[in-house]
Symmetry: D2
Subunit: 366 residues, 4 copies
């Protein structure tokens, strides 16, 4: 199958390689009438942009979005929104040496196994640069959700062994710390840890948490299209993610039911829960509480210390990777997590519109 | 959207409620020519069937499959395979009391929020009985995979605080212990733990692991349709699963790259890895190693101790659930995990057939 | 791909062969809260049922629908509606002789070419009986459309050379003439023509027209998912249809623009058209006028006169078909056309709910 | 739903408006390893390009394709192929006058009804320029089909009352006559007819035929995804098409079975048919004969004579359209028909790869 599209009604299709002329995304199915401008997109892309601190790759990319269709007089028209980002600093020369060998932890071998050959420059389609299209699409989704009071916020909760202290949680810090941690103190410790990693020609992983507030009860479907199933797919489709948790996640498996169930109570005339172990989703459908997700990100596979591997000719070799690489991808992946979550919820919001006769009567007036 | 279908080429559509006349599944897109009989299905359904030990619900269901279409002279014809399982022991009377109230940890409230009303008998469509259709479909997928040397095996690795000892791993035990654990000793401890839970009117969760052997390198897609993304969705779509791990899963986030990358080496003229932290998938595409997954299952929400909740009229009430419930759903969910994994891999196997010109030449002879 | 599902949100999946135990359909995505009972379905199935006049096959089938899921207290729950029709008068003995040969005009050869073998009993999945599932699903769609004042009406406009006289158009006659013609006089002539065909061991074709009234302006999409594109697919997917027209259809190609454009005028404060050459669709989107379609149906390929053909062994043979066959399939296909049209419009109605921000505000109250 | 994507495995997503900065298409699912260059695409786009004769619009567009992704060293990589065409001669000033009124025969009114407002410049997304993306995608599909000996050829068979003489059929003429007719004599008559139309401020329609040679028996599916059903949708999704015929099309409805069935015979050891009334498809599956389609195209709705219509304020007005318009769109639509047919067959070719166990064994070697 195609494989580069995500979503059913609110759908994105991304394209482009790390070292081709450009990358981009087509957003199809965005409702007509949404105010949208290039700045709404650029703000998101800037958060993913490399070269902004000592702990990201030194590759400099403007990542400037060009809006090519789907807007008229500042609003979406209901037709596809095409966005393109030119690649500006491709240095293919960096990659000559890896054309022929399989980097451990990367998709080089699996691409060759699947397609018979691959665009090896910078990882081609398997490069993290592919996520630029997701973020541009996610920005549109987030703009749509904003109209309905839904806010998606992701942040780093750990890098290597360094975890945030939830008692110091500061939402402002998410955008000001280079790590994306909502805790400046932990962030400083994480930076020190990363400096060490880099000195040792090594890399680090971490955990990103995502909270979605303001989701009305009733989004998602009961069987295969559970909201948490789709959110898991969304997050697990991000390159380096190896585990996804919803609500209390892995902790629930050793817990008893009396401790894990969230009691329902009334508050201001509305049904509410007095705890949120479930992470805002029951039976695949949102329950009106905050949706809580966590993505576990593996350490960057590109490390500068020598590694054992094989080449395309089937010879065992030693490989020392060179070039420009992030010692940890977590900080730049925060906005990717946010984007994938926003895309998933936007699609659920639209799909739910036709779930009951009542809704349709409101639209068609019968 | 529909929401009751899973897969793109190898696709299942399930239907049915806990207390309606029947449940079932339509398998569409299974290749023609596969030998298949009712027994292939029944063996799987029997593993999910309730009432087989002291640690599952006492509800007795024959769960006998009726094959209604898609077979001719013992082989699949390429047309839809329809399978039906009659419900035989519905006791709706058990559920009169919950018609009006929202059980904590269940989908009662979210169904009402989404659809305006619900079939409350036994949870209706949100009942665990819905998984019978998945298992019937999964049995067909497993039969197909068998032709290509691919084996899917799931088993319980923990229930509550009781974990298996991997040094005692005994594959035979998976089907003989009532817990689905590959370790009879741990299983006995888990049974004791569950007996305690039941005495205290409480319930337990656990962890299911799934290993997929024999998958050729090259299955899966590089962006949104990553094999691990689809496997995560598959597992997270099972009612009580709250976290999914691939390979070393959550452990990777605190690890360094040098320790997490799997070196490639040659073995018998083939590319292989000397470790498998990645769990058999790199960049969303299978790498030829075993695929390893873990699903974290929450404790059964139906507990007999009284709980705080609200009813449809918005009154706060105390609720003591009665009826027939599993103290832990993990043992019966093992085959559901296996089925969902088999369905996902079968679809990837079929989709990959058209991934490269070489493959098509083999079929169309040019 | 699967290939047995139709629709995106309002979706049906049909299954079953002519001579298997049963046929059926799963309707997924029907909005919750729609009043529905078995009679709503049976009325449609009865119109498709064979053996009701001298001009249909003598095969007697009760075609009684069994409703298996998706309903509670007389209303749809939003979950899949599964419906099954048992086959009761299979006489496989009739088909022994065709197991091995390719009937001209039938799918015997193409099924073998695609799948390697086939269920030859009564055509298996390629039998006209497959449409029973479509009609059951179409009945649900029609019931939904009824809530929004949308009515789908199909009727026969010609059989062989006999055409209706539009001056005598009598809607009552559609259900009372054995031909489905809204003109009793033409119907009598068509019956005489068919009697002649049968005497000569031959068969006839015809044309079915379908009018959809009450469709609000705005349904359908502008590019690939044009409403007329989907309606064409819907009708062309019915076994014997070889041409589809929208509005004035083939007549437009020899006409000039000044004669083909429909002028807009105001009527009762609403935009209306003073003619309807376009057949109710402009740019793929409904314009509020009646939607008009025509399907051209080929003569029944099963004829009793001897025909040249080949068998599976590649031998040239002469074949005289026996068994029970309709001399013309048009009368029984009328309700199939109606069903496919209803399914297409129901899906467009649901999809359109999310087309603009205004609609979503009405549902989510912002 | 999205609505701007076509195909299941071989899938295109088009985007762009007549007067925006650019138009384009993303081709996803093209198998890896196909030789492809910009020229393969440009040749197709040039056939659609305006301004090439006295009978097309005078708008001059270079329609130069820019290939942005999915290629490496002259071959497809299996990842999305993104192609963009800059709009260069937008003259939005031409459209100020129609911003506010509904042109008869156009989608102005229906877009407003659906989306609440529209990009009125040159018809926006409903412009015929949208087909540029289809043609770029179709060129890739045609290139793929060429590898398997499948050739798609479309041509004009009539314009207004002027029809080709099949006795004079000259395939060379298709690309050399300004009408796309394979008959220079008829083409000259058609040009004279069009000159008359233009003098009278009127426009013309016509018929396009499409022949697909070399299709192996076995492509397509038996129920909803019939090859002819998808081809009909493909052609009917082209703006001005109002009827589609397969094989003998509308002629079959008045014919008897004995005259319509195509006898099977053996030829060179292969099953063949001695006639082709069916147009190469039986039961929705290709039978190895040529596939034959006809699309009936309405006269260009933009005419210079005054027409009655209404404006957005609900006032009845007279409208005389100005600007640059084709007197007949048939000649430029020929390559669009060819493209849509190629896309449909390419998708069927890929989907069929997984239809039977035999095929999969050839790929996976068991």
């Amino acid at each position: 199958m195609a494989g580069s599209s995500f979503g059913t009604i609110f759908q994105i299709s991304t394209w482009g390689e790390s070292h081709g002329p450009a990358l981009g995304v087509v957003v199809d199915g965005c409702p007509a009438g949404l105010p949208l401008c290039a700045d709404d997109i650029q703000v998101y892309l800037n958060r993913r942009r490399p070269g902004q601190s000592g702990i990201t790759t030194k590759r400099q990319e403007a990542d400037e979005v060009e809006l090519l269709s789907g807007l008229f007089e500042g609003r979406t028209t209901g037709t596809p929104i095409s966005m393109m980002i030119r690649n500006t600093t491709q240095r293919s020369s960096d990659y000559g040496e890896i054309a022929d060998c399989y980097r451990p932890g990367h998709a080089d071998y699996t691409f060759d196994a699947k397609y018979g050959f691959r665009d090896y420059r910078g990882g081609g389609r398997s490069s993290g640069r592919e996520t630029a299209g997701r973020v541009a699409g996610g920005a549109v989704a987030a703009r749509l959700l904003q109209e309905f009071g839904i806010r998606v916020t992701a942040y780093t909760v750990s890098i290597g062994p360094v975890q945030i202290d939830r008692g110091r949680f500061d939402p402002q810090a998410i955008l000001t710390t280079p790590t994306g941690m909502p805790d400046a103190e932990a962030s400083a410790m994480a930076e020190a840890y990363l400096a060490d990693c880099m000195k040792n020609c090594d890399s680090a992983g971490g955990v990103i948490e995502c909270v979605i507030d303001g989701v009305p009860a009733g989004l998602g479907d009961p069987v295969f299209e559970k909201l948490d199933a789709n959110l898991s797919k969304a997050l697990m489709s991000i390159g380096a993610v190896k585990a996804v948790e919803v609500g209390d996640g892995t902790a629930v498996s050793s817990r008893q039911g009396s401790r894990n169930n969230d009691p329902f109570r009334m508050k201001d005339g509305k049904v509410t829960k007095t705890s949120n172990h479930a992470g805002g989703i029951l039976g695949g459908i949102s329950d009106g509480s905050s949706i809580i997700l966590r993505a576990h990100v593996k350490p960057t596979p590109s490390i500068f210390s020598p590694q054992q591997t094989v080449n395309r000719q089937g010879e065992e070799i030693d490989l020392a990777i060179r070039g420009r690489h992030d010692p940890v991808i977590v900080p730049r992946a925060v906005v990717v997590v946010e984007s994938m979550a926003a895309l998933t919820v936007a699609d659920a919001l639209l799909l739910n519109a036709a779930a009951r006769l009542d809704n349709l009567r409101k639209i068609y007036g019968r």
